[in-house]
């Protein structure tokens, strides 16, 4: 810890010095008597001041919490010498808040002391908590020791779950058993059609009513239940932030909700975070995959880059054939828009949730700013139309519910199918 004199030290020294000199000059011993206690406090204070050598350990109540939850950070303190006042300031990263991030305690020599701090995660993310600034003062408050301790502990705040009841059905399913009713016919529960009996058909699949009417054996055909591959395609090129919310934060919340819902129905879910840094996770299923996905999303941030990126940089195994690609984007960076067009051109089943940045952008007061804002809005409309013209289902998600946006995308895909048919 760095030792320095407090303002009191300089002040008392000045008062004592001037008092003694004035006593000599004016030949008034009263002034020396008035200055003497200041000099005495200085002498005693500086003599008795001992380097505190404070040891600090930080312990978190939990390593993983949900966004908005509280977690206790416990500071364990021990000092080699007594400290009359030890001021602790917990340096919190953006996204972690505390009702009181500073506390002052008194420490006896060798006495262990625990100081709890109640922290609250205001947003999702991975945070390093545990940087503590220390300021110790001696009994006479003449000497101050400043120090900084980096006892970082990692805290992961998962995004708040968003309720999603219905999700997007992919155009094609995979070969494994799942919850999605496939378009193809085979063994399953959902009734599909009837057809004439063929050798090898099971007796239990005979539709006896239809057989009686047609006077020939007729069997039921059914849709098998299959799983699907879903790839969440997250735009991390740019973020639009205002106060305590941002489109990237919303996009990650939505991605986490969608992934959770798909994984609950035994679908395989993968992730591509497409931006300055490319992050991906191969499609997989189960609870482990859910945690892997969310933890990969937590690391997502905007890394500025001016290099052009296209979908060629994404490994082929990350985008399996027949996979439904769900894009989550504010439609701000053209590199991501081109990647969407590219994926569509390669025949991927593509749906886009546009995390609307418009509510976060101020139109501006001056006429030129207002004009620029209107032009920007028009450009966004043009961009949307261009994507929809390519057959990409697009839903805008602003202040409303994600469910409604997914319904918008579903409706578009239903009518697009009709148009194709």
């Amino acid at each position: 810890m760095t030792r320095r004199g407090s303002p009191r030290l300089a002040g008392y020294a000045v008062v004592a010095a001037v008092g003694l000199l004035a006593a000599l000059a004016l030949r008034r011993p009263e002034l020396a008597a008035a200055a003497a206690p200041f000099a005495l406090v200085l002498a005693l204070g500086t003599r008795l001041a001992r380097d505190p050598r404070v040891a600090v350990e930080v312990e978190l109540g939990a390593e993983r919490v949900l966004e908005g939850d509280e977690v206790e950070a416990l500071l364990r303190l021990r000092s080699a010498a007594p400290v009359d006042r030890l001021e602790l300031l917990l340096e919190l990263p953006l996204g972690i808040a505390a009702d009181g991030d500073a506390r002052a305690v008194r420490l006896a020599a060798g006495e262990p002391r625990e100081v709890p701090f109640a922290l609250r995660c205001t947003r999702w993310g991975v945070f390093d908590v545990g940087a503590v600034s220390l300021r110790a003062r001696d009994r006479f408050r003449l000497v101050v020791w400043d120090g900084h301790v980096e006892a970082a502990r990692r805290l992961k705040a998962y995004p708040t779950p968003i309720t999603v009841r219905r999700i997007l059905a992919p155009l094609e399913t995979q070969a494994f058993t799942g919850s999605e009713v496939a378009r193809v016919k085979g063994d399953g529960i959902e009734y599909a059609d009837i057809r004439d009996f063929r050798p090898g058909d099971r007796v239990r699949s005979i539709n006896w009513r239809a057989t009686a009417r047609r006077h020939a054996l007729v069997v039921n055909e059914r849709h098998p239940e299959r799983n699907t591959d879903v790839v969440l395609f997250l735009d991390s090129f740019a973020d639009v932030r205002r106060e305590d919310t941002s489109v990237l934060e919303q996009a990650v919340r939505a991605a986490a909700a969608i992934a959770t819902r798909y994984l609950a129905r035994r679908d395989r879910v993968g992730l591509v975070s497409f931006g300055g840094v490319l992050r991906w996770l191969q499609p997989g299923m189960g609870a482990t995959q859910r945690y892997r996905l969310i933890e990969t999303m937590l690391e997502t941030g905007v890394e500025p880059t001016y290099t052009w990126r296209d979908v060629n940089v994404i490994p082929a195994r990350i985008l399996p054939p027949k996979a439904l690609v769900v894009g989550l984007t504010p439609l701000v960076d053209l590199r991501y828009v081109h990647a969407l067009e590219d994926l569509r051109a390669r025949g991927f089943d593509l749906a886009v949730v546009e995390v609307d940045p418009v509510p976060l952008v101020e139109p501006g007061r001056r006429p030129l700013e207002a004009l620029a804002y209107r032009v920007w809005l028009l450009e966004r409309e043009v961009l949307r139309s261009r994507l929809q013209a390519l057959g990409i289902a697009l839903g805008r998600w602003g202040d409303g519910e994600l469910e409604a946006t997914l319904e918008e995308v579903r409706t578009y895909r239903r009518y697009a199918k009709l148009a194709r048919a």
Binding site: M1, T2, R3, R4, G5, S6, P7, R8, L9, A10, G11, Y12, A13, V14, V15, A16, A17, V18, G19, L20, L21, A22, A23, L24, L26, R27, R28, P29, E30, L31, A32, A33, A34, A35, A36, P37, F38, A39, L40, V41, L42, A43, T46, R47, A49, D51, R85, E87, G100, A102, R103, A104, V105, R106, R137, R139, R141, L142, V143, W145
Partner: protein, 164 residues
């Protein structure tokens, strides 16, 4: 309040009305300096306020050529307590919550420091009263003692300034 009482004492005692008028201005300046230090959180103004108050007291004694003042220990204690309270207020500007009862302990310590200042100052005055000799030799001894005290203070401050 300590400093207020302190600056009122020489004004009440002063015989000359002109001295009283000038003294009132100095007293007001001392109080203003302390107020500014507390409001603005600027600690260098605290010794300025103390020096103005102490200077007013010393000037009144010198101008009136008063005999050895028995109230000097009270003045010393009041000055020190005013300084302690002023610096304590400045430390508390950061509003860092402390242990329960810590303020009470600190107040007791300030009171103790005040009482100790009263005793030390009284002892010094008593010593001066007993050794009432005057002359060049005593002046030289006094100057040497003052210089030694200042040197000790400077050395102490320098040792504090080094990294621990």
């Amino acid at each position: 309040m300590c400093l207020g009482g302190l600056v009122v004492l020489p004004l009440v005692r002063a015989d000359d009305s002109d001295v009283r008028a000038v003294g009132a201005r100095v007293a007001a300046l001392a109080l203003l300096a302390l107020l500014a230090a507390l409001v603005l959180g600027w600690s260098p103004l605290v010794p300025v306020a103390l020096l103005l108050a102490g200077g007013l007291y010393g000037a009144q004694l010198a101008i009136d050529d008063a005999p050895l003042d028995a109230a000097a220990p009270v003045v010393a204690a009041a000055l020190l307590v005013a300084a302690e309270l002023a610096y304590w207020s400045l430390e508390e500007r950061e509003r860092i919550p402390g242990d329960p009862g810590s303020s009470l302990g600190r107040a007791a310590l300030v009171a103790g420091i005040g009482a100790a200042a009263l005793v030390v100052s009284a002892l010094l005055l008593a010593l001066v009263d007993v050794v009432s000799a005057r002359g060049l030799a005593f002046d030289l001894v006094g100057a040497a003692a003052a210089a030694a005290a200042l040197a000790a203070v400077v050395l102490a401050a320098r040792s504090v300034g080094r990294s621990g």
